[in-house]
Symmetry: C2
Subunit: 452 residues, 2 copies
């Protein structure tokens, strides 16, 4: 990229998916890239417990992976999801396609497999090196110098670069060092719901025990179960509970309460999870964490990507996709302003920060949207919106489609959706929704009366 002169050198802290992908982008553009990762190489050791272990890739993530030329390596690890299956209490499961067009699907992938594929692709580049078991213990931000410690030997060492990228996740150690003593803000939130991970193993024949091309949701008033298929026929389940329930059911000796809770709340799931009580007690009750912060960069020396800059609640499955969008945007800004890195970082932050705030908002509201799936008013609204979208496919695009199947900036998604809803209200859709919801409720009552 620079004729004659030595290429700029960057240090990336964190070799998670975002750190690996931004490294690939920059190495392909000719930079010298050194990646330092605190953990051991997961390709040679067991994955850490208690982490969200499968993710969904959608249009934004796929676009970035394609531009980094790693899409093929990743796609063969995925399971396509064509929609979601809603398991309402006392009703037959209902399938909702994710989109109207065949390409409107998402792809489930194990976090560990995605990370391993990206690490292997990254290490294949001659100008990119990864060192594992190396913890960042300090930064001289004015000289973009990093102090590190080897996690196994304790050996201290330093690394020099032209600039540092913090890709070290929600509890980033780079962020406070970047912001120290400067105008800054940091917001951290732990959701009032937490989760336990459970597993539905594959059927004896290796097949799926539930429909394998869908995400499954069991919405309840004060809890929710989400199951995402894996390539081996199993499902990874996230059991979302209030903090009170999570703590109560995790107490030693609460085995019978756990059994009772599941039999009562998710009776159809119990048969699929033979090790339910053991799994429940072995796995930690984990928290959903959301963070927002500013600034994301320090002069032309330090910059943040992915969860280090913005961790969102995972309910929309967009966190990884937004992180990959960051990586692409940062690489593009750096190419656009190759001789003015301060300007490149500022442009990247100006482009991405409002979008990560918008995704934060969208992710928050999606948990209640999932929970309200079974309300008559939600069903009525969904069906009517669906009909409008079928009649006016370009003028009316469902919110989930805008988020998941396009690369329209999240801020524009919100603006466009508000415009659509305003028009809908003007032409009387709200009245139709209320009337139709009333009919649905009536029908449910009649069916209920027939059944009892």
């Amino acid at each position: 990229m620079l004729n004659g002169a030595a290429p700029p050198k960057t240090i990336i802290i964190g070799a998670g998916p975002a750190g690996a992908l931004v490294g690939i982008f920059l190495a392909r553009h000719g930079l010298e890239v050194d990646v330092y990762e605190r953990r051991a190489d997961l390709r040679r050791s067991a994955v850490e417990r208690g982490r969200s272990i499968n993710l969904t890739l959608a249009a934004r993530g796929l676009d970035a992976l394609a531009k980094a030329d790693v899409l093929d390596a990743v796609m063969r690890l995925t399971v396509p999801l064509r929609g979601r299956v809603i398991h309402a209490a006392a009703q037959a499961p209902g399938f909702q396609p994710y989109g109207r067009r065949p390409q409107e699907v998402t792809y489930a992938i194990r976090r560990g497999e995605l990370q391993a594929a990206l690490l292997t692709a990254a290490e294949a580049l001659p100008n990119l090196r990864i060192r594992f078991n190396a913890r960042c213990v300090g930064i001289d931000r004015d000289r973009s110098l990093v102090r590190l410690a080897d996690e196994r030997t304790g050996e201290a060492f330093t690394a020099e670069s032209d600039f540092i990228i913090g890709a070290d996740g929600a509890f980033s150690s780079v962020r406070p060092l970047l912001q120290e003593g400067r105008a800054a803000n940091y917001h951290e939130e732990v959701h009032s719901y937490g989760y336990k991970e459970l597993t539905i193993p594959a059927a004896p024949d290796g097949g799926f025990r539930l429909r394998g091309d869908a995400l499954h949701v069991w919405p309840r008033e004060r809890s929710m179960l989400i199951a995402i298929p894996n390539r081996d026929g199993s499902f990874t389940c996230t059991c979302i509970l209030t903090h009170e329930d999570g703590v109560r059911l995790s107490q030693p000796g609460a085995e019978r309460d756990v059994q009772r809770f599941f039999t009562h709340t998710f009776p159809d799931v119990v048969a699929f999870v033979p090790q339910l009580v053991e799994d429940f007690h072995r796995n930690p009750f984990s928290q959903f964490v959301s963070t927002r912060t500013a600034p994301w960069h320090y002069r032309d020396r330090v910059v943040l990507v992915g969860d280090a800059a913005h961790a969102v609640y995972p309910f929309l499955g967009q966190g990884m996709n937004a992180a990959f969008e960051d990586c692409l945007a940062l690489a593009e800004s750096l190419m656009r302003h190759a001789h003015d890195r301060t300007r490149a970082f500022a442009e990247y932050e100006r482009l991405r920060k409002p979008n990560s705030d918008a995704l934060d908002l969208l992710s928050r509201r999606h948990l209640s949207a999932l929970r309200d799936q079974m309300r008559s008013s939600t069903i009525a609204r969904t069906q009517i919106y669906d009909r409008i979208s079928w009649l006016l496919p370009t003028a009316w695009v469902p919110l989930y489609t805008l988020i998941t199947h396009t690369t329209i900036p999240y801020t524009d998604v919100i603006a466009r959706w508000r415009r659509q809803e305003r028009v809908a209200r003007l032409v009387g859709v709200d009245v139709a929704v209320h009337a139709y919801a009333g009919l649905l409720t009536l029908r449910q009552l009649v069916i209920g009366a027939h059944q009892s």
Copy 2:
């Protein structure tokens, strides 16, 4: 308070003004109180550098001190402030009284002297003990047990209690332990302006070099100087600078820039600060920090007061006053619900959290209000509001008066002020302000033309 049974025991972490005052309240109500403070006893050692060293007490703080029966001990350490003097560039200083009534004054006090007086009052109570040089290193929140370390010997020890009060300031160590793994939020902000402390020494005869019963403000576009009198004739000055200016002027070798900056920006102050350049370089460039968080309590075991729960920007001089209101409110809730501490803590948080959020808002806008003092529109508005308040003293109370000279909850202050402004707009005050501001601008131009 409890007949027959042993009195409840509380541990307070932090012996700053808030920790000492809440200790006094609870010890007077019969509880056993143990206070642990990380720092040395400031009555026997030098005060730490770089801290905001004088504060203003107003109605809210005075009310709480009176109810704790320590008002007399504190009042003799104060300097009454009857108003503020605005030093506009190229204009004679203008005095603005803080209120219309003689009791509408505030009281300046050195933080260290206030703290020392409260510590001495606290230690005079037989059921209250303070241990200094004791750092809180951990908490068992379910058993309200505190692990401590002696800062001088390194000796580790534990202390038991019925409940713990975190009064350990803006970067509280109790807060994260209270919230760990639970639904919570935490917001931290560093202002884009920071400050240097400077001193205007007393005149050779021991008197004040500026009017001694007022707070002095030098508002400028990108900086501000505030001076508050001390009992010894000196003034403590806070020189508020943008981060860029603060960093630039603090560089080694920037002595001449500092001199030039002050001569240009605050020419009338330079003569009063003989050690200006030395002082400027010796003192750190400090940050204004604001924090908000929730929850403030854990079951019936742990609760926060003062800056540990909410640190506001100091521009209104209300931080200490709000902290003292917390102490009073917490003590009152504990007395009201002596047998249900969970309810007492929840009530206290419900009462105080919205008010600390409201003060946060008011404090933020006050910096620009101070800066805009010299704008024609501000002068016109102040003078017209003043006239209305004189005509309708009970119907129209200035915002600053509501904040400073009443104990009306901050939330109600905001609501009432918005109502007053709405009425003012309805009756055409805005038009009058614009017209009058135009006249003032014209007059300034005419005077300027005459002078040049």
